[in-house]
Symmetry: C2
Subunit: 490 residues, 2 copies
């Protein structure tokens, strides 16, 4: 199939070369071998629209343009590179995700970033569906970059079936993709930390999940005066809808609409609710209930016999025992934007009011049956890497994460490069990190590099010392310098 | 916005309480709380062809099929799930990748898994081009899941330009994608550990990279009798081609063809070489040179004045100083399947001869100019996660990686669930991992779970002990049991 198309590519070639005739200016080479001045820094993106022919089919190969000289040096729109300084921050964040998950006895899992599209297409008309990075692969399968991790988790649980011992306590740190309009702070990919408990119907599970997030916040220096959790239960809405004999099937759709309550004018919310078949009276009632911020008030209205109130009361009681009461508050307006939640829902928010939700989750007891499995009670949360970094920046609490290499090893003579390699190997075998200077460089350069990598020691391999089986060792913090026997180096 | 509504809530109270009489049906609880017998295990994949309408355009949303009930529970063809046991292995492997990179003073970086397609399309007709997972996104940009990491690295280096201090020593552990025919041990995605040195023209850089891989092998229990490196230089071929006045531009193509020498009959290799314009005499000489397995012999044929021989001799000398001479051997047939290599090339191979190349790399001094940047000397390697796991299996040296949670905390009475939460919190704040039993379970079940998670201690929260501020602590290895005061627990 591919061959048939590529034969016609030649026709394309000519007009393209005309379009690309602008010479790419080469910057002059510098005489300083360390500088990167020879690199072009201007990021003049080559427009993707240059290609003739308009929209081509998925996976049909694009023409090989012989004369494309300058690529766009930026990552695709909405995505990120992670140069060392950003990667250190990401690694620090992931390290804390994993440490906290471990403290709670959770096991790490992962799933393909590319899943069958069908896994993400649900009936409730969620935003997520319209933002799928989906395409048809070379085998004509509809696939999508995962927009979230929970459907894959559900798929794996159904697949493993009886071989699993419940409850499962699983976590994952994975990249998720959404094709959406770019606005400030919104990218098309982000990493998400998920923790899920499969097999526990009790609210203890939700309480444990929130405890894990609180533990995470504390570890990274975020307090209850920075962040809180708004908690509610979808059973609140369910109980209201049931009163008005609104079919269960509408429930997911109603939740999706209500989740947009802070983004859309109230009139639009009402219209959307009407359009899916919710009666005017029920809409008024719904909106009124959603404004409740007190559990006592909710109990007054719903009575104390329903599950919604009982679950929420139990959760607040457990929060007290877990020690995070001050972090949570009841807020009936929280419903979450995913169709599958069935019980408790919660959202971490920045008390400063400047940022979007930091994390969110809840109970999804009936997700598995939507995929053809039998249901198991479950709950979980997702926690993105972007908003929390914004919050840390906002609070001036980003960690200082410099590169740190214990030793820098340098041959004082080109002929001693091999000897320096031996020294580096000895140190590395003892578990010490070593930056080996791989070229002949002036000492001034070596000191500068030592400072950049925060080295503790500079180890100099000189001819006369080497002949005596010695190396020069300089402690960089004190300037203290001595000769050490090779076999005493550690 | 919601506040405006709340003042009218009082009116709501009455009708709502009347309406809430419908009980929410509780799902029947299974009597065996551990079993997943309720899960459907049959993996009857829902065909992707069920949907009407045939091939739809890229990224046009597929129709929402209301009656899809059973999804395919397997990950897409060629991809993997990572349930806990597989994830532990992957984490162990990645941990070692990162530890070794750190010992060598390398900094971690990453790039988007989805890149502009143009980044991967080179002129040399590499296999990689036909195996791209590429498509057009909703913004009509041609994008591709990265088949390798090096082009992204080059892009980032060009982008950062002068702000970088050379040399860069960067590593990455990232997922790469290739759409290829599935054969045993070949998947469509794998993780790759890359280490690259940017800015060092000397062979010390290649020598250092191989040293890092050897260090990695040793750490995971692989020896020089299991694995070796075949080393050559593309300059060998270059010198041969130059003698026959074959244009430099053909060089990449020739390398790609020659890389297939073990997969295709010799006649086909010859034909392919002829078809790109290499003279018959040169072909004969090339093939002859490629069969050389000794550096002395190579020197006899090429003479000792060329760069090829000089580089290789230096590499072997450095290998001795680094301490891995026994791991490497000269083999002129190694050219590597990527167009961009310019000097030393190497491949890690299993001495048992059962597996594909374990890793490979080399010098790519002229890659940056193919993207419109100015060249900087560079070299690097890629190391996949699949073949090394196969080798460890083959050798019976896969590590035993069980789940291990230090404590299991269990309330002996449902009313003590909150107390158990308090105990778990105390322990977690002290850095101890805790599996909190979230439901009321018989002790037999708790012991079984304790064993499954390899817990050291079982902490029982019973009523009379709790009233005295005590908990029961059982050391599971010895059976030793005692009461400990809550504030003395650590």
């Amino acid at each position: 199939m591919l061959c048939a198309i590529s034969s016609s590519l030649v026709i394309l070639h000519k007009p393209l070369s005309r379009a690309l005739r602008f010479p790419i200016p080469k910057l002059p080479l510098t005489t300083n071998p360390r500088g990167l001045s020879s690199l072009s820094t201007a990021a003049s993106p080559l427009s993707n629209n240059v290609r003739a022919g308009g929209r081509t089919g998925a996976l049909s190969p694009a023409p090989v343009t012989e004369d494309v000289q300058k690529i766009d040096v930026n990552p695709p729109k909405g995505t990120r590179d992670f140069p060392p300084e950003d990667m250190r921050l990401r690694s620090w964040l992931f390290y804390n995700f994993r440490e906290v998950s471990g403290l709670f006895g959770f096991e790490e899992v992962d799933f393909p970033v590319l899943e069958s599209e069908a896994l993400f297409i649900r009936k409730a008309g969620e935003e997520i569906r319209d933002q799928l990075y989906c395409f048809e692969d070379r085998g004509n399968r509809r696939v999508a970059l995962r927009p979230e991790l929970t459907p894959s988790l559900a798929r794996l649980v159904i697949q493993k079936g009886k071989s699993l011992s419940l409850p499962l306590k699983w976590f994952a740190v994975g990249q998720c993709w959404r094709y959406e309009r770019m606005t400030r702070g919104r990218r098309r990919e982000h990493y998400q930390w998920n923790m899920d408990i499969i097999g526990v119907p009790e609210v203890t599970a939700e309480a444990e999940l929130i405890s894990a997030i609180v533990t995470f916040f504390k570890r990274i220096g975020i307090t209850a005066s920075d962040v809180g959790f708004k908690v509610s239960s979808r059973k609140v809405l369910q109980e209201v809808l049931r009163r008005y004999s609104i079919p269960e099937a509408l429930f997911g759709k109603v939740c999706i609409i209500i989740d947009k309550i802070e983004k859309l004018p109230l009139e639009d919310i009402k219209k959307e609710l009407e359009s899916v078949g919710v009666l005017e009276e029920a809409i008024e009632r719904l909106l009124q209930v959603l404004s409740i911020k007190s559990l006592t008030k909710l109990e007054e209205i719903l009575g104390d016999s329903g599950e919604a109130v009982a679950d929420l009361k139990q959760l607040f009681s457990l929060a007290d025992k877990f020690g995070y009461s001050e972090w949570i508050q009841f807020d009936a307006s929280i419903v979450r934007g995913l169709a599958y939640y069935t019980g408790i829902v919660f959202e971490g928010f920045d008390r400063g009011g400047k940022l979007r939700a930091i994390c969110g989750g809840g109970r999804y007891d009936r997700l598995l049956s939507t995929f053809g499995g039998d249901d198991i009670p479950a709950c979980g949360f997702g926690f993105g890497d972007a908003v929390i970094i914004e919050l840390l920046k906002e609070k001036g609490r980003l960690p200082e994460l410099g590169l740190q290499v214990e030793n820098i090893v340098c041959a004082l003579d080109p002929g001693l490069q091999g000897a320096a390699a031996t020294v580096a190997t000895i140190l590395r075998e003892k578990g010490q990190s070593v930056d080996l200077v791989l070229e002949s460089k002036p000492l001034k350069w070596v000191f500068k590099r030592a400072s950049r990598i925060n080295a503790n020691r500079l180890i100099l391999v000189g001819d006369s010392e080497w002949q005596r089986g010695m190396v020069g060792v300089k402690i960089l913090s004190t300037g203290e310098q001595q000769e050490i026997k090779l076999d005493e180096l550690d």
